[in-house]
């Protein structure tokens, strides 16, 4: 699956690039599902020996074993394949806690994964603009309900129903790095009950 092309949007909406090797003595790559392909593509142009100093954290989701073998063949210094982002989080925090300036972070895959991993890396002290990203795979969105603050993962329709408070929310492009989510606002606030038919906007 190639790199995703997005429609032009507002200034708070993240823009994703193409991963490229950067100088640094250690490298941390975090990907989910089809995000593995971005790492495999990156590996075509990495300087010799870079993977000797690379730690890969990979969450295959529904791609299963599709990419795990090829990732391991890159011979990274460490390669973790885990069942979920939540399961990988203690490991990620441990890695960042001990890392030194110059660590290069590469994120690829879904917006939810990249957003949450970026939050960990920025909390550890890496400026967000120094973290590379490349979108691959699902365009489903991680949404925050502005009313109850609950997060609904993998939203594909607009409007959608908040998984926490049950309000019907429309999907904004306004994005918060600190929450790693887009903003959902009640669609029928001015005319309660007048909820438009949900349309599938994200896959």
């Amino acid at each position: 699956m190639p790199k995703t092309a997005f429609e032009p949007s507002i200034k708070s909406r993240p823009i994703y690039g193409t991963l490229e090797p950067r100088p640094g003595k250690s490298h941390l790559m975090i990907a989910d599902a089809e995000g593995a392909e971005a790492i495999l593509d990156l590996a075509k142009s990495t300087p010799k020996g870079m993977f000797d100093h690379t730690h890969i954290i990979y969450i295959p989701k529904k791609t299963g074993e599709t990419f795990t073998g090829r990732l391991r063949e890159l011979n990274p210094a460490q390669c973790y394949v885990g069942p979920s982002y939540e399961a990988a989080l203690p490991r990620l925090r441990r890695v960042l806690n001990d890392a030194h300036m110059g660590l290069q972070v590469y994120l690829s895959g879904s917006e939810g994964l990249m957003g949450q991993a970026m939050l960990e890396a920025t909390n550890a002290g890496i400026p967000h603009s120094a973290i590379q990203t490349e979108h691959r795979g699902s365009t489903a969105r991680r949404m925050q309900c502005v009313h109850c603050k609950g997060i609904t993962e993998d939203v594909t329709t607009d409007p959608f129903q908040c998984a926490h408070c049950g309000l019907h929310l429309f999907v904004r492009d306004h994005y918060s790095r600190r929450i790693a989510a887009f903003q959902g606002v009640r669609v029928d606030a001015e005319e309660p009950g007048n909820v438009p038919e949900p349309v599938e906007r994200f896959k």
Binding site: P23, M101, G102, L103, G125, I126, P127, S129
Partner: protein, 321 residues
Amino acid sequence: MSAGTDKIAVTVTNVVPVNELVTRFRFARTDGGLMPTFSGGAHTVVEMKDGATMRLNPYSLMSDPADRTAYTISVRRDDQGRGGSLFMHRNVKPGLEMVISNPVNLFPLDLRAKKHLMIAGGIGITPFIAQIKQLAASNGNFELHYSVRTASLASYADELSTAHPTRVHIYHDDKKQVIDLENLLDGQPLGTHLYVCGPKGMIKWVRGTAEGLGWPREAVHDEEFLAPPSGKPFEVKLAVSNKVIQVGEHQSLLEAIEAAGVDAPYLCRGGACGQCETDVIGYDGKFLHNDHWLTEEQHASGKKIMPCVSRFEGKTLVLDR
């Protein structure tokens, strides 16, 4: 509105030679009031009435930012310069009344930093002295690596080493002591911010080494005030105020504009802040751009000039002032 407004009338209360090249000046408010607090890294612009010439030079504040009784600066004598530092050394005595600007900070600490790593060369130590006082008062985590020519020219090295023996490291050129920069940068924890103030070569070396080691641009900060270079005199037409002015050999374009009574904005007077950016209406000749502000494309475009440090050689130059 000129950025030089909101000035402070001060009296020089102390002039202390620090060593062969550096002299320290202390300014208190002439009206007896308190100085504004400031943030470590800030500078003030000192106005010098040197005969018919008005010079305005920026100097980093080195006093404790929380001490509101006075400001202190240190000035290194530059015998080849345009005369600002010589004026300070020769003409400024205790009791002299002067005018300085409110503090402006173009070299602030990033208060998110988990650690502040400071690299100073020579007189570049001055902003760090104020920053260290600020950080020491708030239990901040800092480390200073200070490179000097000789022990006798090491301004404030003894005071800093005594106050912070484990955090301050001094390197003497004459003893062939060099900052082991690559090793130093390599071991720093995530969230460290790097600051460098010193000669142009040092800033380039530190920036280049950090970049090569993968340090993010946003975590590296530098400050270099350019002294306006001297050059051939030239003539400029100011279109808005409808004046033709002459820029002297040892005068900057900005100074010449001000001398003609035309209000022009500025903050740093050293090519860094962007405040004095001026549109060029027409020209026939060659620009001598010396600023850090405009992009290379803007330099090449012939549409912009930073009059604080840049000059012109040629037949005509018309500015939107």
